[in-house]
Symmetry: C2
Subunit: 253 residues, 2 copies
Amino acid sequence: MTDKKLAFPFVVEPFQEDYTGRLSWSTLGNHILRVSSLHAEAHGFGYTYMKKHNRGWVLARLVFDIDELPQTAEPYFLSTWVSRIFGQFTDRLYSLTAPDGTAYGYGYSTWALIDYETRQPVNLEMLPDDGFHAALLDEKVPISPPTRVRVKDDKLVLKHTAVYSDLDINGHVNSIRYIDMALDSFPKSWHDERRVTRVELNFGNEGYCGDRFHIYRETLDEHRFAVRIIRPPRDGEDKESVIVRCVIHHRER
Amino acid sequence: MTDKKLAFPFVVEPFQEDYTGRLSWSTLGNHILRVSSLHAEAHGFGYTYMKKHNRGWVLARLVFDIDELPQTAEPYFLSTWVSRIFGQFTDRLYSLTAPDGTAYGYGYSTWALIDYETRQPVNLEMLPDDGFHAALLDEKVPISPPTRVRVKDDKLVLKHTAVYSDLDINGHVNSIRYIDMALDSFPKSWHDERRVTRVELNFGNEGYCGDRFHIYRETLDEHRFAVRIIRPPRDGEDKESVIVRCVIHHRER
């Protein structure tokens, strides 16, 4: 029987770091998506099952809290397990650890399963044969719940038009690219002095190639800022769409 | 003794593809830089040597010719060796092969070694102890030399301002991001119908965070286009700088 919690080994390889020499959030994010996919596949509710049933997983929320990211050449493990099924959603948790078991940090994510025919989310509690309840593991992660934020005074800090290299295999803008956009809204001097310690993302509408994004940012306090990525109205639309809302925590280097 | 030609094993992992499900040029490019670095290190002229002598390798030219890139989950080998030392330059060659030895394609690159104190390139034929002549391997790659192009009628097709996520560990815009910019200058519909089979890049000035880039493109014929990436004058500069010139070959899917 497949373990409920699976640990995947990685090494920080050159060109997987940011300019400071630590694993980039971008690479970490893609590894998070990848281990989620590998774990789901190993438990029978991954890509093979989804392709057969014309369904697909959609990431609704991602929180990752980390004291310090590993440096170039350092090995690490990214572990994942499913902790909860509630209505249309399921929670998947993560731990990022050094080979000796010391935690770099933890994360959690919430996913919905979309039926491509009806375009509606599936009730995960009512799947045939008890769905993937057998994979559930009652283990928590020791990080705070997401910040509740009322964005009051944000300003437009960056514009980006989605291009070919932003797309994932579904033809959508890769969810992790929105973390890049949030961090790219600051100049290098900001990054020289600060280290990001936590990201909280809430995903709204999907982005597509050619979409214009407006990135709005508000400073919440000395160690937190909020970002709102919206898509201004496209031809024939009368209002903007919310793509992502996020809160990012940082500290001095 | 370390083999003159080293083969590095890879697998096309999820999120290393483009939206068509094949290894992205972006990932391939970073793997090219990585195996170059690993090979140089194994032969004693890599990062450890360079750090000690305050020098660094700079990529001057990259050509990669490939019939078809491998698909998700397919294993492949990227091999590299050094074929030539001439004055201030050295040629490094590549082959990309399936596990059964079938070639996906080949590449070559030209590098200069910069002395950080003098900011000048070092004469590679005159290094102490015969430099790295012992690593030379007289094996060619069966691909055409770069296209000679006079760009006559190009037009501005994309603008990009270099951001945090574009930077490599040296704080420069990662050389491979320029391939993305060239491919990003086309909409998804172009990529839906075509497959890139060859890239030829000539690198000029380094790009830095905050730099503005203007991407100019000219259609050369049915299967080729040229791209020129320039940086308009910065404060205090009186003329633009050429960052990259490239030619890209493509065919129908």
